[in-house]
């Protein structure tokens, strides 16, 4: 209970157990664009981009999730794209998951596609090899 007695343990905690947020591997290469953020231009992620806000322009990454509040006006390119929100423009994906809440208008280029009932899509679908 004494302050001096617990000082060793305190050191152990800070050195061995504490991980700085910036060093956490699970989040280090992830990008989150929040609901109140609007980006005009191009977003290039290396790994994972989660979009709850708006992008007017281009978004490119390995994996992109467009949440229900998220929207893209322009172009989305990723290996895996999940759409719950709105996209107007072009989607280029290997695996595309279109959820029931999504609205898509434009062009869709995909290798594998999964569309949930309820999605509103007016688009040209092109299967790439």
């Amino acid at each position: 209970m004494s302050i001096f007695g617990s000082s060793d343990k305190k050191e152990n905690l800070s050195e061995d157990n504490y991980v700085f947020p910036s060093e956490k591997p699970s989040t280090s290469r992830n990008t989150f664009i929040s609901e109140d953020l609007e980006i005009q231009g191009e977003v290039f992620g290396k790994d994972y981009v989660e979009l709850a806000g708006k992008i007017i322009g281009k978004a490119k990454s390995k994996k992109i999730d467009i949440r229900q509040s998220g929207s893209i006006l322009g172009e989305v390119t990723a290996d895996i794209v999940t759409v719950e929100g709105n996209v107007e423009g072009e989607i280029i994906a290997q695996d595309l998951y279109v959820k029931s809440t999504s609205k898509i208008k434009g062009t869709i280029k995909y290798k594998n596609i999964d569309i949930q009932n309820g999605a509103i899509i007016t688009a040209e679908l092109i299967k790439t090899i």
Binding site: I56, N86, E88, V98, K103, G106, I120, T122, L125
Partner: protein
């Protein structure tokens, strides 16, 4: 609820009451025009138009032509224009090429869908929402992206 509509329409559709039922069996080739049908099942090869409340193209089925239906399930091949008033289900084995007009659409992972797909209801443009939230400085960028899309 929409899911229920589509489930009714799978290959299990009740064909026991054969009033209004058309079945093109496996291995059969048929050319023609089907009108006023209630349930249509294509397991063979059919070329022509189909107007049916329910239509199902099964795994080995092949349909070339135009479909007008309430509900449709495609597990085989379809080439042509399809307009469904309610739901279109494309199973993972399904291959659809052509123009699609639908109210409810479900596509299983692995399926092929190529062509123009159009939701029958009104599709509100999100660009107008985005424009509203733009400040005037960015209008030039916004205009150029609009042009690209149109």
């Amino acid at each position: 609820m929409a899911e229920e509509i589509q489930m009714d329409n799978q290959e299990e559709s009740n064909l026991s009451n054969d009033h209004g039922t058309v079945v093109v069996g496996e291995g059969v080739r048929l050319e023609g025009r089907i009108d006023n049908a209630k349930d249509t099942q294509i397991s063979g090869t059919y070329s022509g138009t189909v107007k049916s409340d329910n239509i199902s193209v099964t795994d080995n089925g092949n349909l070339n032509g135009d479909i007008r239906a309430g509900d449709a399930t495609i597990s085989g091949k379809f080439d042509g224009d399809i307009k469904v008033d309610k739901g279109l289900l494309v199973n993972s084995s399904g291959k659809v090429k052509g123009n699609i007009e639908y109210s409810f659409l479900e596509v299983k992972f692995g399926a092929t869908v190529e062509g123009m797909i159009k939701h029958s209801g009104s599709v509100s443009s999100i660009s107008s929402n985005l424009e509203n939230s733009n400040n005037t400085e960015m209008n030039s960028l916004n205009d150029s992206s609009d042009e690209e899309i149109n």
